[in-house]
């Protein structure tokens, strides 16, 4: 566990040394701010539901950009070898990097707390769904980070890692809108696979254990996939 923390520290610091962190956070804030507030006043309701509804789509672009370098860069430079011959295990490395990505996503969400605060001055804001939404956003960020980490462990090219994880995250998000084309028997299964289905529940303020379990399983599958990919490299 100690090794996980050291690796987490190093990775988290690395985000803020390079310009990537600042670019990703700015892009995220601009895009969410723009899409959310262009329609916000039309509804005339003091709610963040539309903001949370945006997150799965926006996260499928932003989170892969956060995670793409985690393993690809190491594989490319070769520092992976120096790291893994230190007394650490695969689990230490994967968990450390995963936590760094999740905490970075959390750091990205912090500035958006200004939205509920600002809205609470405009009308009666119900803080329950807001809290639920943020918990859901973190779970979503974690699930997408795990997918991104997996994609990054497959290739030494960061761009391929980005596109691959974006494709996976985006498909998971879009499944919900594609159900129309699917045959009846697989409908409920495919719906269950989609992130939107689970995330919309959470963003309404309903914390259902099934939805939480869904995001945790996606994270686990992603991390386990990364573990297998790294093991395969030996």
């Amino acid at each position: 566990m100690r090794q996980v923390i050291h690796i987490f520290n190093k990775e988290f610091k690395a985000y803020f040394v390079s310009p990537i962190a600042y670019i990703v956070i700015s892009v995220f804030l601009i895009v969410t701010g723009w899409f959310f507030f262009t329609t916000f006043f039309l509804y005339n309701q003091a709610t963040l539901r539309n903001f949370f509804a945006l997150l799965p789509t926006i996260f499928s672009f932003v989170v892969p950009a956060v995670t793409m370098r985690l393993f690809s860069e190491e594989l490319n430079v070769g520092s992976y070898e120096t790291l893994l011959t230190l007394p650490v295990t695969f689990q230490d490395v994967i968990l450390g990097k995963f936590l760094a990505a999740v905490v970075f996503v959390a750091a990205m969400l912090i500035p958006t707390l200004a939205y509920p605060v600002a809205i609470s001055f405009l009308g009666q804001l119900d803080w329950g769904p807001v809290l639920g939404g943020y918990v859901g956003a973190l779970l979503l960020g974690a699930a997408f980070s795990a997918i991104g980490l997996f994609a990054s462990s497959l290739t030494r090219n960061q761009i391929i890692a980005f596109i691959l994880s974006m494709a996976i995250c985006f498909s998971l998000t879009l499944i919900d809108n594609m159900l129309f084309f699917l045959p009846q028997p697989v409908l409920s299964l495919m719906q269950y696979m989609g992130t939107n289905f689970h995330f919309q529940n959470i963003s309404k303020g309903i914390l259902d254990s099934r939805d939480i379990l869904y995001f945790l399983s996606i994270s686990f599958v992603g991390l386990y996939g990364a573990h297998l990919a790294l093991q395969e490299k030996n």
Partner: protein, 310 residues
């Protein structure tokens, strides 16, 4: 200290390391020598637990690599080829990270980093990012990384590649200094380096060990033949051939005339030292002996012979 038995590694169908056996003793500086692609790096990577052998076993002290790779990693310090490091980290931050991973306590970390910085000559670049410093300095950061925990076994993959002669001399000095107390394994394809730094040399070619021993032993044992060069005045090739041919053990005479001086190359069997016989023979004639010199086979020749065959 380290026991390697039937170590084999296949990359797909390609056999990189083929049934290697050797032991490394405590306090030895072992040089792993071989042409490019011989399997040096693969062997070292298996030893450090970075890649898994296809078959065979590695034992370090009482630990086998399959079950106790974490324990072995704690005993080892490893500098991979061309020192791949995090380019966006500062040298100090990197060494601090390594010290943390190596489990240093807070108050012991700084003195250790300072000591390594002195030893490896890093004090002037501590505040620079690793991507900015020269190759020589990167190599030294890698060396500091490997030595952080004062490991019992130091594994260095081509520690002097790409350095200038001064830096090479410095790094060799550091290695020899460490080698007094620790076990060092280094790979190289520079022969003079192996000869200058190592107690023992293992030559690998195409994944197999082709020679194992000290530089002296290797020179002595290889070939079975040696050369004696003599320079004579007042002699001609025919009479030299006639006079020297009867000596037992000479199997080739090759005279080369250079103006007044006659240089003769004698190929001798290494079973006996023939210098005395040759001198006695020359004494009986009226030739003037200018030079008599026994040529020991250089390591380079042995290396080329052993690794060229296929």
């Amino acid at each position: 200290m380290i026991h390697i038995e039937n170590l084999t590694k296949y990359y797909g169908d390609v056999c990189a390391v083929d049934q290697i056996n050797f032991d490394i003793h405590k306090g030895e500086i072992l040089g792993l020598l071989g042409p490019n692609g011989a399997g040096k790096t693969t062997t070292l990577r298996m030893l450090t637990g970075f890649i898994r052998p296809t078959s065979g076993s590695i034992r370090v002290k009482d630990y086998t690599i399959d079950e106790y790779d974490l324990e072995i990693k704690k005993l080892l310090g490893y500098l991979p080829e061309s020192a791949p490091l995090y380019h966006d980290m500062l040298v100090y931050d990197y060494l601090d990270f390594v010290a943390n991973i190596r489990g240093f306590e807070r108050n012991k970390k700084l003195p250790r980093i300072h000591r390594l910085a002195d030893l490896c000559g890093l004090s002037d670049v501590m505040h620079k990012s690793i991507g900015e410093i020269s190759k020589g300095f990167k190599q030294r950061v890698g060396l500091a990384h490997a030595m952080m925990s004062d490991p019992e076994i130091l594994v260095l993959d081509e520690p002097t590649s790409g350095l200038d002669p001064n830096q090479i001399a410095e790094i060799r000095g550091i290695i020899r200094q460490i080698g007094k107390k620790k076990t060092v394994i280094l790979s190289t394809h520079i022969l003079s380096e192996a000869e200058a730094t190592c107690d023992r040399i293992v030559i690998i070619n195409q994944g197999k060990i082709v020679a194992d021993g000290s530089a002296e032993n290797l020179k002595r044992s290889a070939g079975g033949k040696y050369l004696i060069n003599i320079s004579l005045q007042n002699a001609d090739s025919d009479s030299v051939k006639r006079e020297l041919e009867p000596i037992d053990g000479i199997i080739g005479i090759e005279p080369i005339e250079e103006g007044e001086i006659l240089n003769v190359k004698l190929t001798c069997l290494s079973s006996a030292d023939l210098r005395r016989d040759i001198y006695n023979k020359i004494k009986q004639t009226d030739w003037v002996l200018l030079e008599l010199h026994r040529e020991t086979k250089t390591l380079e020749k042995i290396f080329r012979e052993l690794t060229k065959e296929n």
